[in-house]
């Protein structure tokens, strides 16, 4: 039982990283597409009935729950997550921390291999598999990332992206405990990716008696790499702003046009 709980939270936390990363580019030139899209997104037009209020495009039927979780996350972050992650950053020198980051990202390649495949992108799978093999061997179990200088940049993806790829809408906005902003689709994606990791049980890590320690480390590693502070803006509208930004970000990643419909000027 213990193991299941820890594995579940592990999965959640580890997958949490994925939710902050861009979808892999269909073309293999990730960021260019995203930046292009962003730069020119405003020029595009689409949609049906003109809806000029930006917030209303975000479905949030579970808002009271989401807000409660958001506030919980803010408090947890302030009281525990952030202090621990700061201690971690203070104690461990940068090269060690980046090896920890590399290690977890390397474990995450499994999900990338599977999901690129599920999205029908065999080259993406092969790319991620190559990275995994190189980094696990030459990179000493994933502590280093020699694949990157060889031109194999990380192409993170997840089951949430797979669902989006096959046309699933994001579904309602969902704020996950600890992991933060998500959607029903992406939250489900995290669960799926976690389950895959747990089942494959790479190197026996995910089902060991020490999986909880690994999960905790992964969570701290993730937090220390995310430059965000709850309520740093002091704004009472932070929930609304983050919801909009997150949802919009995922639409951009999924290639959905985010421009306002015609008739709004």
């Amino acid at each position: 039982m213990n193991k299941i709980v820890s594995a579940a939270s592990l999965a959640l936390l580890m997958a949490g990283c994925a939710s902050h990363h861009p979808a892999p580019p269909a073309t293999g030139q990730p960021s260019a597409t995203i930046v292009e899209k962003a730069a020119h997104g405003a020029a595009a037009r689409g949609g049906t009935a003109p809806d000029c209020q930006m917030e209303s495009s975000v479905a949030d039927p579970w808002e009271p729950f989401n807000r409660a979780v958001y506030n919980f996350n803010a408090r947890f972050d302030e009281a525990i997550f952030l202090p621990v992650s700061r201690g971690y950053t203070r104690i461990l020198p940068r090269p060690v921390r980046s090896s920890v980051t590399n290690f977890f990202k390397n474990l995450g390649e499994l999900g990338n291999i599977v999901n690129h495949g599920l999205q029908g992108r065999i080259s993406g799978s092969a790319h991620s598999l190559s990275r995994f093999l190189i980094n696990t061997t030459i990179g000493i179990g994933g502590l280093f990332d020699p694949a990157k200088p060889l031109g194999l940049e990380r192409l993170p993806t997840g089951f949430g992206h797979t669902l989006a790829h096959w046309g699933a809408g994001p579904g309602p906005y969902l704020v996950l405990p600890l992991a933060g902003p998500s959607s029903l689709r992406d939250g489900g994606g995290l669960l799926f990716d976690g389950t895959v990791s747990y089942s494959v049980n790479l190197a026996g890590l995910y089902q060991s008696d020490h999986a909880w320690a690994l999960g905790t480390t992964a969570a701290i590693d993730t937090r220390s790499n995310v430059n965000f502070r709850y309520y740093a803006s002091g704004s009472p509208f932070e929930y609304e702003t983050v919801r909009f930004l997150y949802s919009n970000m995922r639409m951009i990643e999924s290639g959905v046009d985010t421009a306002l419909p015609d008739g709004c000027e």
């Binding site: 960021s31 730069a39 930006m54 803006s233 002091g234 951009i252 985010t258």
Partner: protein
């Protein structure tokens, strides 16, 4: 132009560590974006299509100084965050549960040294990008540095304001003085010799706050503030907010849809930035930085700048609405509580101007509170002239501004010249704070704060 900006953004994104640890180019860009935060646009002359703002000034405000003109500063300095319960504030409305304590930052020198108290500009927190820049400069020059948020920052309003209605020069000065007195008392240490002297510095609205803080302290005599330096301060708050509102009208139009579209575009841009980054900030500095690549004309630059001010206004307007029960965006009988949706309030406030804040929250509150006050007297009270005699006679007040300063009209600029005389430096470029961090600006600042500033030949 667009491509150039996109590729610049692309390089930025690709820096190792992304925003967390920007490289030099990224840093320069971040800085420059940061600079634009508290800014507004509009030169004294009206050569630009917008009438208020010339192209160079707008660009300086969004993109900042050229990297080769930047003063060399340490990347980081040791800084301690402090969350302090401030005495003398008001009860905290439930909806502001997260702002109970005031967050400030202290950078301590190993031995006794002068203390520089830095005050942020409109809506800025105690760790705004501009404050960080000033902190690095002053710390590197041997000062202890204590950074404070603007009295218009929601965290300050909630944790420290005695009224909940921000924006009054004198009242904000009193609140700042109470906060500074408590903090300095806590930091001074038992022996009391850690701070060899105390100076105050602020940028934008914080510059006016700094001058006021010294003036109030001179009467109260508690801190013994030695010098005050105002960087690009407003002169008449009323005139400045008028210019800000006007700039938005000129650049976006006064219809709500145009504004919503701009808002949407800029936030979409912000989203796309987050999509490729591990950083997520939603403060104005970052907002304007993100917006830079969609700001492809003077009009849109001006609009983006106006919008970044509006983001601050929305927050302080909301606070004022809650504290005074004005009922602009919230129901005074049933004020929102934590967990309530604030989307509707946000929509309402997004379309409110600075003047609306003055008319609907600020003026009613202060007219009721100050017997004999009139609308005109409130406007007059929010002009630096209320401490004009001190500013003219006391050699320890200094100021910096720019010839194309956008928050000043010609009359304001002349007033600064007459009032500060040789203790004012006027740079010929930069708009509002667009030259913050340049070698000359930093050198003059350090000279001013240590009392050795002498204006070179006119």
């Amino acid at each position: 132009m667009k491509n150039e900006q996109a590729s610049r953004r692309y390089r930025w994104r690709r820096l190792p560590g992304r925003f967390a640890i920007p490289g030099q180019a990224g840093l320069a860009l971040l800085l420059s974006l940061a600079l634009a935060t508290t800014c507004l646009a509009a030169p004294a002359d009206s050569e630009s299509p917008l009438g208020l703002a010339d192209s160079a000034a707008l660009r300086a405000m969004v993109f900042g100084p050229d990297p080769e003109n930047l003063a060399p500063l340490p990347e980081t300095v040791p800084t301690r965050e402090m969350n302090i319960a401030i005495e003398g504030g008001l009860p905290v409305p439930d909806v502001f549960w997260f702002n109970r304590k005031l967050r400030v930052h202290f950078s301590e020198q190993p031995g006794p040294a002068p203390l520089a108290i830095l005050i942020a500009g409109t809506g800025g927190n105690a760790d705004s990008q501009k404050l960080r820049l000033l902190r690095r400069a002053l710390y590197a020059a041997g000062h202890h540095v204590l950074t404070l948020p603007s009295p218009t920052f929601p965290g300050f309003i909630v944790a420290a304001s005695s009224t909940g209605v921000a924006g009054d020069l004198y009242q904000d000065g009193l609140d700042l003085h109470r906060v500074a007195t408590q903090l300095v008392g806590q930091l001074r240490g038992r022996k009391g010799d850690r701070f060899t002297e105390i100076n105050v510095i602020g940028y934008s609205l914080g510059g006016a706050n700094a001058a006021m803080l010294k003036a109030i302290d001179g009467e109260a005599g508690t801190l013994g503030i030695r010098r005050a330096v105002a960087i690009n301060p407003p002169v008449s708050l009323f005139s400045t907010i008028g210019r800000l509102d006007h700039l938005l009208e000129l650049s976006v139009g006064d219809n709500e849809q145009g504004f919503d579209r701009l808002y949407h575009d800029i936030y979409t841009q912000l989203s796309s930035l987050y999509a490729v980054s591990d950083a997520m900030h939603i403060d104005q500095d970052f907002l304007l930085g993100a917006a830079a690549s969609v700001l492809d004309s003077d009009r849109r630059l001006a609009a983006g700048i106006s919008l970044s001010f509006r983001m601050s206004l929305i927050n302080l307007f909301f606070a004022g609405d809650i504290y005074t029960g004005a009922g602009v965006a919230t129901d005074p009988q049933h004020p929102p509580r934590r967990g309530d949706s604030l989307e509707e309030a946000m929509r309402v406030l997004r379309h409110q101007s600075f003047s609306a804040y003055f008319e609907r929250v600020f003026a009613p509150f202060y007219l009721a509170r100050r017997p004999g006050a009139t609308r005109e007297s409130l406007i007059a009270d929010n002009h630096l002239e209320i401490i004009g005699d001190l500013l003219r006679s006391d050699p320890d007040y200094y100021a910096q501004t720019n010839a194309d300063e956008l928050i000043l009209d010609r009359e304001d600029l002349d007033w600064l010249r007459r009032t500060f005389g040789p203790r004012l430096v006027v740079y010929d470029h930069g708009g509002h704070l667009g030259n913050l961090g340049e070698k000359q600006q930093i050198q003059d600042l350090l000279d001013m704060v240590s009392g050795r500033y002498a204006r070179s030949a006119p």
